[in-house]
Amino acid sequence: MKPIPNFILHRPETLEEALKLLSELEGSRPIAGGTDLLIGLREGDCKAKHLVDLGLAKELRYIREDEGMIRIGSTTTLAQVVESRLINAKAPVLSEASSLVGSVQIRNLATIGGNLCNASPGADTAPPLLVLGAEVTIASRNGSKSMTLSELFAGPNRAKLASGELLTEIYFPVTPAGSGASFQKLGRRKGCTLSLINAAAYLEMNGEACREARVAFGACAPTPMRVLDAEVLLRGVKLDIKAIEDVSSACYGLVQPSTRAHARASEEYRREMSCVLMRRALTEAWQRARRNMR
């Protein structure tokens, strides 16, 4: 097979040094897990004169809770997310989704920040983070800023990052009692597969009424997306199987899957499956929310 075209490799040990390199070197790209980037370089889909390896900057690799927020460093591997006691206890929907990305070998390399910055429309960590209300921190030499995860997704395989900018952290609030979330994925096979479509739902219950609802799809639009029109149909409503059925069916007309003939699945199939996955996601989120009442 084709060799990987040559480049200069930099291995900074701090974030500050990495940001300096990325801002000063023309044609530089960060490399985190490398599981997408190295394939892209080999295939010629992307080019880099300089690669800035983030692997030695330990300050970007952590999972912690502080003041009601769960914070994940961007180069935390998906395996670390899957195994994290904190994530399993407080945001199991994220560890479930992460456990379905690639294989063991890939999850030991691939990072959560890389999964988001590559901005695949079907990225499995995106829908759960969208419904958890995640925001991201973007750092550059001039300082750092925040944006919502929805804002980060600029287009298919395109993150809203200027050159010299790095995603450093993903954070979201700890969910309250009475809440529950679910991730659902449909691929060609059960294991080790790309999503033809994926979905996540988050519900917060107040007795029988739904106090807050957030739903999201992947691979159903140019970017992973929240479906605000479906959320409105759930908020403040007394939830039952009928309500869940109605909202799920409405997804057929609310998603905007690709119409390209060579897409992994047809537009029609994705519309149909969006209803099925949303029904499963809402049903499980609802069950979990009721179990989570205190």
Partner: protein
Amino acid sequence: MKISFTLNGKKAEVETSTNQTLLDLLRDDLGVKSVKKGCEAGECGACTVLLDGKPVTSCLILAPQVENRHVTTVEGLVEDELMGALREAFMEDGAIQCGFCTPGVLLSAYALLKENPKPTELEVKKSIEGNICRCTGYFKIIEAVMDAAERADT
């Protein structure tokens, strides 16, 4: 450029280039031929090695990235008791056909049993999800891993 890392318990100092993968370094320069070159895209798992004890696809790692780290292949586990149990179970249970995927599968199974000595069948399946067997001998492989877990226990 020169890098140094631990290969199968021994210090290795080698000349490499930034765009050489760990897979090519192991096979072409260090003669470690148990690590197979399959898809070179992280999908088949034939190039699996243990990096600091965790299975990874060596085709998606740049050689300089293993600086100061521990790389293990089946050659480094010849004397290992658990790998011995796996090897025997694989041979006796007919879990090897053409053998191309075998070193990678053995390493994935080894990493599983190290952390989880009594896995369920589902856990075994999940642990080898990243290793494709073109002979499709999955059932025998799963049986052999379960069998090895029992052998290692007694």
